[in-house]
């Protein structure tokens, strides 16, 4: 169908708005001298090729995480319009920071050195090889892509929360109320959600499509997060995994989690 006059006006209007608006002042982190602030909101429409992989995975060098650091969380939530409700009941988050004994209850013990026990470990969707959330979703609103990313269709989700019951990692959040008034600073490049749908980390698929790395990886000043293709022996993530022993959360459940932790 040929574009109608109405469509044309809409497109023209949006183009005018995006031309008139200054580029987003990105993140409070820019003040803190974060090097990659520009990458976080990289908008290059042209030269960068989409990043592709056979199997996306992430390595977390949790030992590098400084106490109390929330850079990855702040960047992720800023980029993805994650609301800040400020109470645990309505809470929505894509990345959390948790104590090591809560993330790895079976692998830790009370005689671990204080340096390990004091760590704050980033936890996010594990983008499982065999995701239980995808299996239980009655409408295929959550699904796994060929490159391993477990995604959500926010327009199809009916909000039954079966996926939240099925996720062994507590990686999913429900919008118990309208999130839009609680988004601290709107990023117009990423959709907001409505009340009544479930959401979670999407491995920044929208950034990968534009050729940039996930926001959390870019935001981390300690380079604790490494992202790459698990099937490519030369990838960053494989290089980090080559360095020594790494563990995953609850691998005994057969979910095949794709976040690898080095402590």
């Amino acid at each position: 169908m040929a574009p109608t006059r109405r469509d044309f006006l809409k497109i023209a209007g949006f183009s005018a708005i995006s031309l008139a608006l200054p580029p987003l002042p990105s993140l409070a982190a820019a003040k803190a001298g974060m090097p990659s602030a520009s990458d976080l909101f990289a908008r290059s429409p042209g030269p960068l090729q989409p990043l592709k992989a056979k199997r996306w995975a992430m390595a977390v060098d949790a030992g590098k995480c400084p106490p109390g650091c929330r850079d990855c969380i702040a960047a992720c939530h800023r980029v993805h319009n994650v609301p800040a409700f400020g109470n645990p009941k309505d809470d929505v988050h894509w990345i959390g920071a948790e104590r090591v004994e809560d993330v790895f209850p079976a692998e830790t013990h009370p005689r671990l050195p204080e340096s390990i026990r004091a760590l704050s470990i980033p936890v996010l969707c594990n983008h499982c090889e065999n995701p239980p959330c995808v299996r239980v979703c009655p409408t295929q609103a959550t699904f796994k892509r060929a490159d391993g990313i477990v995604m959500m269709d926010y327009h199809r989700c009916i909000g039954c929360r079966f996926c939240m019951a099925a996720c062994p990692y507590g990686s999913r959040s429900m919008n118990y109320r309208d999130p839009r008034p609680f988004i601290p600073k709107l990023n117009p490049d990423f959709p907001t959600r409505t009340k009544g749908v479930v959401e979670k980390c999407n491995f920044c698929e929208e950034r990968l499509a534009r050729g940039v790395l996930p926001a959390c990886v870019v935001a981390c000043r300690e380079k604790a997060l490494t992202f790459g293709d698990l099937e490519d022996p030369g990838s960053d993530v494989r290089r980090v995994l080559e360095r020594g022993f790494s563990i995953r959360r609850r691998p005994e459940l057969g979910t095949g989690p794709q976040i690898y932790y080095r402590l």
């Binding site: 299996r135 009655p138 019951a165 062994p168 507590g170």
Partner: protein
């Protein structure tokens, strides 16, 4: 036949008006929930299913229990149940309608419920539960209505009804099995990850449903001229006793496995359920009531002298219903979420609006039962 539900005594009118009022209050709060979101309930990121899904789970059991009348009558020609199988089928119809309503009010985006059929996922147990529940609803509406219609005309039911009624027997088992599988198939929730979840569901269903039917039969005997007969009521009471004993036995089996093996992941949920964790013991207090009530009811039902005396039987049946409502309609669902996968202990307390909506759906279900039973009694009186 429907018109018979529209007229009745003054007491009937007051009762119907009361139920309609409760349903209207529930509907009012549901509109508020639609506007605000599910945040109006006590559910949270950690405890993401609550009262609604628990009511659904409990009521699937009530629905399935019709089989305890149909099976003895149609497979074993147990004549004493002949008069009341239709009561069981109408109870099943009302309970399934309540189940479906509870699932609908639990949806964050109820307007998209049709996606269940537009984009079905055959690997999802919830999809299959929708299929078996609606099938069971259809079977029971058709069989119950046809049999009653024939009784009205004093003719035998048509031949095609019997195979459908026989089909309802395995179908009743299926609705509670599939509902149990919603829970029992989740690797990350050790409290629910037990192979006896479906047998447990069936045992508690065959206790709570028939207990409710006994109470309904006694109410009908007191307020109408319909008498189910002492033999039918006493047989039902024995079924309740056996099923309740089985249900308690299954819970004890779960406790043994967890506490003798001493696996922390298995013990912690049961500790929360029965004793509380780190001072969080709201559910444990309810479960204490449930356990004591179940034991008292079991004793009253096992001793023939008490079982055969109506006041004791009433107390026992109320006890069974209350005990299993606490266990299935509250404890079982919430405890699966506590502690959370990140070891957090989050209390869940249903809010006022949540109770109002829940009460409204129960009132709607009771209204349906009342109207069905009114029609039933009127037909019986004429016949």
């Amino acid at each position: 036949m429907l018109e018979k539900a529209l007229t009745g005594s003054r007491g009937y009118g007051i009762w119907v008006a009361l139920l309609l009022t409760l349903a209207a209050i529930g509907f009012f709060f549901y509109l508020r929930q639609l506007n605000y979101g599910l945040g109006i309930t006590g559910m949270s990121r950690d405890v993401s299913w609550g009262l609604y899904i628990a009511q659904f789970t409990f009521l699937v059991g009530i629905a399935a229990s019709a089989v305890m009348l149909v099976l003895p009558y149609y497979l074993h020609d147990y004549k004493a149940f002949g008069k009341i199988t239709v009561l069981g089928e109408f109870l099943a119809v009302s309970a399934v309608i309540m189940c479906i309503t509870f699932v609908l009010v639990d949806l964050g985006q109820p307007g998209r419920a049709i996606n269940l059929l537009l984009y079905p996922s055959l690997r999802s147990v919830l999809f299959w539960d929708v299929i078996v529940l609606n099938g069971y609803l259809l079977i029971n509406i058709v069989t119950g209505w046809t049999v009653l219609g024939c009784e009205k005309k004093s003719i035998p039911p048509p031949a095609w009804v019997k195979p459908l009624i026989i089909l309802s027997i395995p179908w009743a088992i299926s609705i509670h099995t599939v509902t149990a599988f919603i829970y029992a198939g989740l690797a990350g929730r050790s409290f629910w990850l037990t192979a006896i979840m479906a047998p447990r569901f069936l045992a508690s269903a065959f206790a709570s449903g028939p207990a409710l039917l006994i109470l309904f039969c006694l109410i009908l005997r007191r307020f109408t001229r319909f008498d189910a007969g002492e033999q039918a009521i006493q047989t039902l009471a024995k079924i309740v006793a056996y099923a309740l004993a089985t249900s308690i036995f299954f819970v004890l089996v779960e406790l043994f496995t967890a506490f003798y093996s001493q696996i922390p992941g298995h013990m912690q949920h049961l500790k929360y359920l029965f004793a509380g964790l780190e001072g969080h013991n709201a559910i444990a207090i309810w479960m204490g009531v449930s356990a004591v009530t179940a034991m008292v009811a079991l004793i009253l039902l096992m001793i023939p002298q008490t079982r055969q005396r109506e006041p004791f039987l009433v107390v026992a049946c109320i006890g069974v219903f209350l005990s299993l409502w606490i266990e299935k309609g509250l404890g079982l669902v919430v405890t699966g979420f506590v502690p959370s996968p990140l070891e957090r202990i989050t209390d869940y307390t249903p809010t006022g609006p949540e109770w109002a909506i829940t009460g409204g759906i129960w009132a709607l279900g009771l209204l349906l039962i009342t109207m069905f039973y009114k029609i039933f009694v009127s037909v019986k009186k004429e016949a």
